[in-house]
Point group: C2
Chain length 262, copies 2
């Protein structure tokens, strides 16, 4: 029996999110079906991040156990021949039997993209949040700086959050602008339900879309009052870029570390 890890990319537009649901097509559901087809076993993957409907991924992670003789490194090739075009496996390799992608220390990197133009740009509508008010990048950066570090983020998550603790550490938030696109790259040890989308909405508000101030953000962190932060930005602007496990560094050196010098 081997435990195999998959790095999974997908276009979220066609799926009701990651997690298996009755009567809905999900990324996890498709992976289970294709892996079971490939191995002749009844496979149920364990996913690292249960992304929402419409959210994209470059590097979500799933593991599964198999008796198959397919070499772990070959699963990516074998799966990519039978997966639909909007799901792709970028890497596959063996991990220790006890490795659990949600119960292991991690660094996750998300990217949120805002298209800051007067009118929507048709070719970007599925992958960006269109904001027509011109945003002030410097104000967005000031707002972002307040969020860095370990904080109780209960004011920055959906009321549907079921996590036991709402304390998370954000290692870095980079706000950059290239032509009409503003990218918010957030790296941290984990994120609560809707947390990255609320951060994106809060920074957009601070940048000119709304009236959130640095003081409001500090107060939201202190009091946990969700109404002080900004709106929840829409899902299609969000992409789970990378999940990094320090524990796997030896066997997976090419993964990107987001740099937690914090």
């Amino acid at each position: 029996m081997k435990r195999v890890l998959l790095k999974v990319s997908y276009d979220g537009a066609g799926y009701h999110g990651w997690q298996v649901q009755p009567n809905a097509i999900t990324v996890e559901g498709v992976l289970n079906e294709k892996l079971s087809e490939l191995t002749g076993e009844s496979i149920e993957v364990i996913g690292a991040s249960r992304t929402d409907a419409g959210v994209h991924a470059l590097g979500n992670v799933a593991v599964f156990d198999t008796e198959s003789t397919i070499p772990p490194e070959r699963f990516s090739y074998a799966l990519n021949t039978i997966l639909p075009e909007d799901i792709s496996v970028a890497e596959s390799f063996e991990v220790p039997p006890g490795f659990h992608p949600r119960k292991t220390d991690t660094e996750k990197t998300y990217e949120y993209t805002i298209l800051n133009t007067k009118f929507p740009v048709p070719g970007r509508r599925g992958y960006t949040w269109h904001v027509k008010v011109p945003l002030d990048i410097d104000k967005m950066r000031s707002a972002a700086s307040v969020l860095i570090g370990p904080h109780d983020f209960r004011g920055f998550c959906s009321s549907k959050t079921q996590a036991e603790s709402t304390v998370r550490t954000i290692y870095s938030i980079n706000v950059t602008k290239h032509e009409d696109e503003i990218k918010i790259v957030v790296c941290g040890d984990g994120f609560l339900y809707n947390m990255v989308r609320i951060i994106a909405g809060t920074l957009a508000s601070a940048g000119g879309l709304g009236k959130v101030t640095v003081t409001d953000i500090e107060k939201a962190l202190r009091t946990g009052d969700r109404t002080l932060a900004g709106l929840t930005a829409p899902p299609q602007g969000l992409c789970l870029v990378d999940i990094w496990y320090p524990e796997l560094e030896e066997i997976y050196p090419e993964s990107e570390n987001c740099g937690s010098d914090f």
Copy 2:
């Protein structure tokens, strides 16, 4: 009677190209329909570039004549409320009555995007050409340099080309790589049928996908032998970025000039 210019963006995936066709949905057809609806007149636009099925645009150009009382600058706002989500009008303004978008000196900028990864990336498949062989950017740049300047490009166009002359001037070709994406930005005074896609295919071949050499490209330019250049790259990687009319500089100063110091 006023002549109004529209700068048109679209996601080419949903259209059978620009030009009106019987029994097929085209960008030009949709614009004619929506402009006629808006003005109560029977409008037929004149387009600058008849992009192929699947090709995208940020700044294609169309003009039309109208007696409407809608101010020319307001057509973009009015159209964007009734156009489908995958077509958008970025700008509209009045131009001189005789202005013809295909019979006026111009500089056109196209961008071709190659996704150079081992496996396709689902979120990018509609907007890139996936090439899994690692490409050598320096070799692509060397190949590109041969194409700069005025040349007879009959070896770099589809046999369906109907142009009277096949001489065109390329002002610049910039090949850049950012992470896994290679962008080829081509600026010139005009392009023959499929010419940018053949240039992209030729540079990819020179970069390692095929065996085209700088000598082959020089010979293709000299002899017009289409078989010496590379394959025609697929449409979804191509985007018409901008069309610039020096004649309109006075009334349209914010348009980008691609810099024809040639």
